[in-house]
């Protein structure tokens, strides 16, 4: 059984202020297999977040259906871990309490929560910052907390919405490397949204390029390059040229339709 199965999903936003409907996603079909690392690549405004939010259950589908692990999505739940673009940590909880928040909701005792949180704190390299509050963390550290929090759910799929977009280049590269290492070690299905061709190429086992206005999904492009990927390698640049060409065409189309 596929990890995620999207069948003819359409999303129409009702724009209350302008009394106009917006077709954000048009008949999206997608199958994500178990242990895929799928990168959804597209220019901004083409419906990447919308698609991810529908898988997460934050937005409903206007028609069509989305199945996760064979079951239709009806709302948010801990079987799908989400890493948001902004870290969205509870500012009143410390790092470890943020990471273990799910366990608190389930009524797990403090000692057990603390112990389990430590596993994930060590995994994302935050050892020593357990008792810091979010406002005392750098952007990269806050992202790590967001990732650890999603990992602790031990979800069937992890959904990531441009989690590294706000980081500086060096931190972003480190985070990408660590994410791949964690994913290789623990396996699991990842859907990773990005508007950066390079990021998609560094991370994914498959890439889907989205087209704009309305958002549509192109076919899946498999990437069989070994990890960690060398961005200077000839094979890497081959793929990059190929995907960049498609991406450019979509981005141009998006710009034109926005101007029209």
């Amino acid at each position: 059984m596929a990890a995620i199965e999207i069948r003819n999903a359409v999303k129409i936003y009702q724009d209350q202020q302008r009394k106009r409907d917006l077709l954000a996603l048009d008949t999206v079909n997608l199958t994500v297999e178990k242990n895929d690392f799928l990168c959804l690549l597209g220019p901004s405004g083409c419906g990447k977040s919308t698609l991810l939010n529908m898988i997460a259950g934050f937005e409903s589908v206007s028609s069509g259906e989305i199945l996760v692990d064979g079951k239709p999505v009806t709302g948010p739940g801990a079987d799908r871990g989400m890493v948001f673009q902004q870290p969205t940590l509870m500012p009143w909880l410390t790092v470890w309490e943020n990471i273990a928040f799910h366990l608190k909701l389930r009524g797990v005792h403090k000692a057990a929560r603390r112990e389990e949180a430590q596993l994930y704190i060590d995994m994302v390299g935050l050892t020593g910052f357990e008792n810091h509050y979010p406002n005392e963390l750098s952007g990269g550290m806050a992202s790590r907390v967001g990732i650890a929090r999603a990992l602790l759910l031990n979800p069937a799929v992890i959904l990531m919405d441009e989690p590294f977009a706000a980081l500086d280049a060096q931190t972003r590269m480190d985070m990408q490397e660590e994410l791949v290492a964690i994913w290789q070690k623990h396996q699991g299905t990842v859907v990773f949204v990005t508007h950066s061709v390079e990021e998609a190429l560094v991370l994914g086992t498959k890439i889907a390029v989205m087209s704009c206005r309305p958002g549509r999904l192109g076919e899946l492009i498999p990437l069989d390059l070994p990890y960690p990927r060398d961005i200077t390698e000839a094979a890497f640049n081959d793929r990059k040229r190929h995907i960049l060409a498609r991406f450019k065409a979509e981005a141009d189309k998006a710009r034109k339709s926005a101007a029209a």
Binding site: A78, M82, F84, P91, W92, L105, R106, L153
Partner: protein, 266 residues
Amino acid sequence: MLHLIRRGERLVVPFLLIIGWEIFSRSGLLPAALLPAPSIVLHSWADWAFAIDGSSQTYSGHWLSDALASCLRVLTGYAIATASGVLLGIAIGWWRWVERTIEPTVQMIRPIPPVSWIPLAIIWFGIADKPAIFLVFLGAFFPILLNTIHGVKTSDRNLIRAAAMMGATEQQMLRQVIFPAALPSIMAGLRIGIGSAWMLTVTAEMVAVKSGIGYVLWDSYYFLRYDLVLAAMVSIGLLGYGTDLLLKLLMQSTLRWQRGQTVQGR
């Protein structure tokens, strides 16, 4: 050393005020009975508190029980206002239907000054603690309620999404996400509320109750004891300052996570 100087800073202005007042009172520009010098006020106050020479007559030695009576009214009314203001505020902020059904009524009652309830409060509750507690409640309730509603409404939607993603039920969402997210705003409401609470206790004691510091204040006015009027005023100021200080400490310990994030933390 620097620390001691800092502590001393806050005493400079009151000290200068008192010196100026003492000099002015003794200068004879006004009849001494109309503006008693601080030294006289202090003397009467000492008698009111410790019964040193009976100069405050029937109040001699009663300060503590008067202060306690006032504090108790403030505390009771304020506690009821806090509990109901926070609960109702969260409900109005969170559920649309509660907002639609209850908020218009609340907003209509709010502009009525709490003191204008005094006649009804006396008719309903008689001359005792209850009308004062009722007034304190009215005064503290609205700022707490409005600030709670504001805090809930402005809490980050993404935090709610994050909690839903981690499997929070609605009740958990309210207790563990919405309430802490609204807490800074609730605390601001609590501090405004404590000010109104003292104001209304004293007002109520002046007209509807026969004990407490407000009562002593008004009664002394009838007997032309302006030294006691002033002693009562200063007492109210100090008690109000003390309760606000307690709230501030509570705020600092519960909002520890805001440290270094706001201007306050400088």
